[in-house]
């Protein structure tokens, strides 16, 4: 089959690889009909997440048709012919973490738990196409994929919704939603979202859906800010204005009640010396993050507010404003999205028309053009917001 693979730092390559097969009795094989490129794929491509190997199949947002199931897959949950969206965290459904609905922390789905434990203290779930730290599972930017614990995660789509309407249930829609949900949004809240990429856009829409009074979008790309503005959010361009001053102005001096970091480890920012400091430390690998968005969110948030982090961080960061966090009674909430928890309710919301996931799609390309897709998405060429690939 054809698959998009990691081929060294800043390089992906579409290659011929063997077809996937059942390795565990609870596996299913899915013929992929739509898949997408995610912002966190860029961290893998950049080489900031360790343990990538030449030839790793990328991609953790995908959907398709079940063409084969292992012997132990519960037929009441999944059968050949089912149309499914596959959540990116692989979860067993029975361990302590899964019982607590913390699916992205599943205790059983990462065969490389020992490596993850060294990096993170405790292991994390396996994730498709997301380095060997999260299990070394082949990803879904391919014609076919193997899905472990297939009777737990994948969501059956039985209505006539298009791929584009449901594909993002695999990651970015629930991730954005969880970012807003962790904010415990009240009707009087002003919510500021750092990053107007696809996840940021969905975090903004979700904050609005959950009843926020005002939603502010912080980014530097005019086309992304315009996209947010068209959806009814207030744009702030950090290259044109001082973010903290602007936020104070927009909130009567209080600061946003809730802040969402939808940027993560590779944030770019206006302050040249801080950027240089982070960049150098990152280059010599003594720091994996450039956490400027997180620092700014903590410094800007109103006292007693909540900072919700859904941007991806991989290792250790520096100059964390612990004083602001502690002295001003801030709550910090975070996590890789526990997708399985949100798929069903969000599907209902899509069916009801509460939210329109298709609004972020700017490019649809055949799988064979994945390299070009990465190129334009990474460099924000051609007003690229979200790329969907068709195998």
């Amino acid at each position: 089959m054809r698959a998009n693979t990691w081929a060294g730092r800043n390089k992906v390559k579409v290659r011929d690889v063997p077809d996937p097969r059942i390795l565990n009795e609870r596996d299913a094989i899915v013929r992929i009909t739509s898949t997408a490129i995610c912002g966190s794929d860029l961290h893998l491509v950049d080489g900031y997440v360790p343990t990538m190997q030449d030839g790793d199949v990328m991609g953790h947002e995908f959907m398709g048709e079940v063409i084969e199931v292992g012997r132990s897959v519960d037929p009441d949950r999944l059968r050949v012919g089912d149309r499914v969206v596959v959540p990116f965290p692989i979860a067993c459904g029975v361990c302590g973490a899964c019982a607590a609905e913390l699916y992205s922390c599943c205790e059983n789905s990462n065969p490389n738990a020992g490596i993850a434990e060294k990096m993170f203290g405790h292991p994390v779930a396996g994730i498709f196409g997301y380095s060997h730290l999260t299990g070394g599972f082949a990803g879904g930017q391919a014609q076919y994929a193997r899905v472990p614990f297939a009777d737990v995660g994948p969501l059956k789509i039985e209505s006539e919704l298009t791929d584009e309407q449901v594909l993002f249930l695999s990651d970015i829609l629930p991730t954005g939603y969880m970012g807003a949900e962790m904010c415990d949004i009240q009707s009087t809240d002003v919510v500021a979202v750092w990053g107007a990429g696809p996840v940021g856009q969905f975090a903004m829409d979700s904050a609005r859906m959950l009843g926020a009074a005002k939603v502010i979008a912080i980014d530097k790309e005019p086309y992304r800010l315009q996209m947010a503005e068209r959806a009814g959010h207030t744009p702030v361009n950090f290259e044109e204005v001082d973010v903290r001053s602007r936020l104070l102005e927009l909130t009567g001096g209080r600061g946003p009640d809730k802040c969402i970091d939808a940027v993560g480890m590779e944030s770019s920012h206006g302050s040249a010396p801080i950027h240089a400091y982070d960049r150098v430390k990152q280059a010599v690998r003594s720091e994996t993050e450039r956490p400027h968005a997180l620092r700014q969110a903590i410094m800007s948030c109103r006292s007693g507010g909540i900072v919700s982090v859904i941007g991806v961080y991989g290792g250790f960061l520096d100059k964390f404003p612990a004083g602001a966090w502690m002295n001003r009674a801030l709550t910090l909430r975070t996590g890789q999205c526990h997708v399985q928890r949100y798929m069903e309710p969000l599907l209902r919301r899509i069916e009801r028309g509460d939210i329109d996931p298709t609004r972020v799609i700017t490019h649809t390309l055949p799988l064979d053009q994945a390299e070009r897709g990465f190129e334009i998405f990474k460099n924000k060429q051609d007003n690229c917001e979200k790329v969907v690939l068709k195998p």
Binding site: G96, N108, S286
Partner: protein
């Protein structure tokens, strides 16, 4: 020391005296070197401190590289010379660090001796279930990487064999010396075992009311000589990691019914070493056949 005592002289000789940043950086680098030195002189784990020196060298080279890019003329020539010297120091530090790490790894195998390992995990099944699974000793090889087979020979006696990882087969008889159903099993090797060993596993209820906390203590009397060497080689540098991974697989088998495999680590319990993995892409026919036997 010179960087702290006479930073300006150091800055002039190395050719970075024209930048304000260097006024701060040069004494800092000097101070950092003293930290490494203190660590190397006082710590018992010298290899770690040697590696911190290597990391420091890498930082120095990075800053020198940046400085070179921004300078010309005599300053640049001086910088290049200094960089050359630092590269030399880096090579020496790197060799020392590798040497120190190797020495630590090999020592155990030469001397032999007593080794005790402990590990613990929580399994979301009640204690009687977990106990029953372990008490059926034939189940242990399904999750313990080094065990080939356990044959029950009597009510409390059994014959154990550990396979290829040792370089040769090691076999021994064992007996259960103490047991409390649902709570505890203790065993030890009997007769002339190549590697005399003993173990205890305790099963206790977890606070959630449904799970079991499993605590394992294993002890090995590793002899010198060829067998000792083979045993040590099997355990490698991180015997605790081995036991932790064994318990993780026990948890997988009891909770999900299988040892989970990925395309990058497809060999189930045979994946003893985690780092040398294959790419995470579907397996070829021959790789699949190899995996199917595991």
């Amino acid at each position: 020391m010179a960087q702290l005592a006479a930073p300006d002289t150091v800055r002039r000789i190395s050719g970075v005296d024209d930048s304000p940043t260097s006024r701060a950086v040069v004494p800092l680098v000097g101070a950092r070197e003293l930290v490494h030195a203190a660590g190397l002189l006082t710590s018992r784990r010298k290899s770690i401190w040697a590696w911190t020196r290597v990391a420091g060298d890498a930082m120095d080279l990075a800053s020198l590289g940046m400085a070179i890019a921004h300078r010309g003329g005599r300053r640049r020539r001086r910088l290049v010379a200094v960089t050359g010297a630092v590269v030399g120091i880096t090579v020496v530090d790197l060799l020392t660090a590798v040497q120190a790490t190797r020495t630590k790894a090999v020592r155990g195998s030469r001397e032999g001796g007593f080794m005790e390992l402990t590990a613990t995990t929580t399994i979301r099944k009640p204690p009687p279930t977990v106990y029953a699974f372990w008490r059926d000793l034939g189940n242990l090889p399904t999750f313990m990487a080094h065990l080939e087979e356990i044959r029950t020979t009597g009510d409390r006696t059994s014959h154990w064999s550990a396979g290829a990882p040792f370089g040769k087969n090691v076999e021994w008889d064992a007996e259960i010396v103490d047991e409390a159903p649902g709570e505890k099993i203790a065993w030890r090797s009997t007769g002339n075992a190549d590697v005399p060993n003993a173990g205890t596993v305790r099963f206790g209820p977890a606070p959630d009311g449904v799970s079991t906390e499993v605590h394992v203590v294993l002890s090995y009397d590793i002899p010198g000589g060829a067998v000792g060497k083979a045993v040590a080689r099997y355990f490698g540098e991180e015997p605790h990691q081995q036991l932790d991974d064994d318990l993780r697989r026990l948890k997988q088998v009891l909770e999900t019914g299988e040892v989970v495999r990925s395309e990058g680590a497809p060999w189930g319990k045979r994946a003893r070493k985690e780092f040398p993995q294959r790419p995470a892409q579907p397996l070829s026919d021959s790789e699949f056949a190899k995996g199917a036997q595991a």
